[in-house]
Symmetry: C2
Subunit: 503 residues, 2 copies
């Protein structure tokens, strides 16, 4: 029956099903966005149930035998365009992966995740890792099971990494984080020997409304399309997309911290520009999705750091910011402002870390996750392991679990293999930005003039338009001529901090 | 197989399926709410597709044979509680009705509705009924077909009425609207013979933020639970519920019209109190749903008019409102304010009509809908028919289609049989409020003191808690001892306007 259908017909039936699945998933994303922005307190429990129902439906649709058969048949057709073929191949991969999970495991994981998250919330409030430990142990057990369900080559952690960054392996990450350790440690020590730069002026009173207006202005100037998105306030800033024509960002505002809102806006703006740049005609299909979490993070980091913490960027924006907050900044020259916003200072909390020490935070989590999966560590050791790592790598003493091992939500959600993509994002960003500088003459002057059109067009052409057509590895090679190479970040960081700390 | 299951088991499987359907429908409601409040412009087309997909899924779930079999078997069980039995009976009724629609008809109706709506938008902008007429004719054709799909006794219009108000018939409505015509016409003429009251002070400048704060304060004082809901701004005010713990209202603010925001807040607040009062334990089941549109409207109208336009109500609130807007209202005594907000003045636009002439607007639409279905009118006649009715009943001359036959969205949506529930709501409200006055000693003084706790508790106990357990007819008789009787509204209106216009 299916074999008699034309490729055109089959492909249409495939895309129709994929769009339907995307519609359900995007409806979930709307409910999720609402949950973080506007949901009244008492509405939370049933919202959870509504999300679970939609998730079950999406899973059922994406494991339907008919879809599997269509994919199977399409694989055998010779008359697919390259994009169509890629969509079929990747969808089949996703489909086969989905089918591997026994229903009982899915239910168990979903239940454990829910429990684990609530236990984490309680334990963090109580500042007591011991309360969280048994649930975390249970979660690790399930995650080990998941590596066997998914299958892997080499290290079991590879199975989980692949969920977030296709093709990433411990071999690759060991190389990357060895470089972090051996190259960034001396750089950090060099900085520590120099007199510290001042950033006190960033913590004066910055009025909420004025910050809000500034954030919106920055987003618009970056090229974020406000008719295809919006900004709202949430506890933790995030970007969410319901399709390339409806990509929303959130921010938070701390009146005692100029930086919080500013770079969260630029960061989420970077994510959002990627989503707005995905091809609308590939809605619901792999080629309409982001390449990987690492590539997604490369877009946010490139805007946040390579552009948004550069002297060029603030040459244009600083005079205006001084005008908005004259009492705080009129007496602070651009050069001091630039140094202040780039202060390097080892600290306890990952999300508040500077551009350099950030990667030690990620590395610590990577070491721990790998160790848990291979059995080097057990959850019982973790508090001690955590605190020792912070002392060794960052020379900071962890005073309690809330500021230590309980700070991040990820493990309670069962997200193992996620953290490394944060560092990969920065390293891809440095490499991409170097390529942009080479390929776009005058980029530095454009940024200093508040002009990002050429840069955005370049990102759209080089990266955004492809969706998942290329893996992150392939994309990196296509755009930069090389595989991911930590040296780009090292060069960028060394040069930057040399200028700022004068060594 | 199914016959071997215990009633308990079967009922659980039934409720589980119903909750799942409710989850999907409530997800649609969230997407709908977002569409009217926060959706960026370019996000509209795919939002439409996402809603269609969810609607298809909900329809499939609610026509699944397994659900039908479960319902069939449950009907035969003797050991159901009365509430359980009612849930089963009503669900089976809904299920059978859903099954009646051929898939081709559903698709045709959905497509026509979409086209019809967009044609209406264009025609209204162009102020040209002729542009809308062919699509409306097509819609009427489908609606006639629908009456045969659904089946009916007596008049075909009964089939459509039943969709919104179970048990309503043209016989019942003819009686009601005959009373409107014969009793309200002389009342209106009496009013028109008296000097008009002044309401110019309602159209001075009322600052947006102050109006917003006042609206929120009124909602809270009525007893609307802000932790189980929220207010936002939309073009047309509405209430939507995702479950009794998340019931949201919207309003609009016109700085040149004190009334627009004020009574829309109270009106939507009335709807929202009903939804917040539905039994949480019946989520997804008929006994967790509103009894009918007429009963829903009775709750909004009771608060908006019987409470919110009464002298008692403003005795409490007016001094505060004077303080908020001293320039506009300090010189306007309470008595003049009360008269102004109750001004009767025949006009062209239904949604802006006063409490009395409103029912002529509804009656006109009722006469036309009935006439279209029985063939007395064709869509080609309608512009003329409309304009003559407005001249005859309201003595107003319709200057153009935008302010005439094209003013309301309902027909373009295929909502025939909906309008009458607006009038029924007012008439139920008058009858319910009379019963409340009899059963709650001191109600008038309580309202004059800003105390609505007893009234709300009475509504919760008499009406809200039952969901769809009783039909509107049964509910009315249970609460008031009588069937719906227009005389309650007539007495209320006569007494009120006698006081205001002094005849």
């Amino acid at each position: 029956m299916i074999a008699n259908k034309s490729t055109q017909e089959l492909y249409s039936s495939f895309t129709e099903k994929m769009e339907q699945i995307a519609d359900v998933r995007n409806a979930m994303a709307v409910l999720g966005w609402d949950q973080e922005t506007y949901l009244p307190e008492k509405g939370a429990p049933l919202r959870g149930q509504q999300l679970t129902t939609l998730s079950t439906i999406a899973h059922e649709l994406f494991t339907a035998t008919e879809l599997g058969d269509t994919l199977q048949e399409l694989r055998s057709r010779a008359d697919l365009t390259p994009t169509q073929r890629k969509n079929v191949e990747l969808s089949q991969e996703d489909y086969e992966k989905n089918k591997k999970y026994p229903a009982s495991f899915v239910a168990d994981l979903s239940q454990t995740t829910n429990l684990c998250y609530h236990t984490w919330l309680k334990a963090r409030r109580a500042n007591d890792y011991a309360e969280f430990e048994p649930m975390l142990a249970r979660m690790i057990q399930l995650k080990k099971q998941e590596t066997h369900i998914l299958g892997f080559e080499g290290h079991p952690y590879n199975a989980l990494l692949n969920e977030f960054e296709k093709g990433a392996t411990t071999t690759m990450l060991d190389t990357v984080f060895d470089a972090v350790k051996t190259a960034l440690t001396p750089l950090l020590r060099q900085i520590e020997e120099r007199p510290q730069v001042n950033k006190d002026f960033l913590h004066l009173h910055y009025e909420r409304n004025k910050q809000w207006e500034l954030g919106i202005a920055l987003l618009k100037e970056m090229g974020y399309d406000m008719e295809a998105g919006r900004q709202d306030v949430s506890e933790h800033p995030f970007t969410t997309s319901f399709n390339p024509q409806d990509v929303r960002v959130t921010t938070r505002i701390d009146e005692k911290d100029f930086g919080n809102m500013t770079w969260s806006c630029i960061h989420e703006g970077g994510h959002a520009l990627y989503e707005q740049g995905l091809p609308m005609g590939q809605y619901g299909l792999p080629c309409g999705e982001a390449a990987s979490l690492g590539i997604h993070e490369s877009q946010s980091r490139l805007w946040e750091n390579n552009v948004g913490r550069s002297l060029d960027f603030w040459q244009h924006h600083y005079p205006r910011v001084q005008q908005i907050f004259p009492d705080n900044l009129q007496q602070v020259p651009l050069d001091s402002f630039y140094k202040g916003i780039n202060q390097v200072q080892p600290s306890l909390i990952r999300t508040e870390a500077d551009e350099l020490t950030y990667h030690f935070h990620v590395m610590i989590r990577y070491e721990i996750e790998k160790g848990l999966l291979e059995g080097t560590y057990t959850t019982k050791d973790l508090q001690q392991v955590w605190n020792r790592y912070y002392l060794d790598y960052l020379h900071v003493h962890v005073p309690n679990d809330t500021q230590g091992i309980l700070q991040d939500i990820h493990w309670s959600h069962g997200s193992f293999g996620y953290f490394p993509t944060y560092s990969l994002g920065s390293f891809y960003a440095a490499q991409f930005f170097t390529a942009a500088q080479q390929q776009l003459p005058g980029l530095s002057q454009q940024i200093a003039g508040g002009q990002y059109t050429a840069l955005l067009a370049w990102l759209r052409e080089q990266i955004h338009q492809y969706g998942r057509f290329y893996t992150s590895n392939e994309l990196c090679e296509k755009v930069t001529g090389n595989k991911l190479d930590f040296q780009y970040f090292l060069r960028y960081a060394t040069e930057k901090y040399k200028g700022i700390y004068g060594f």
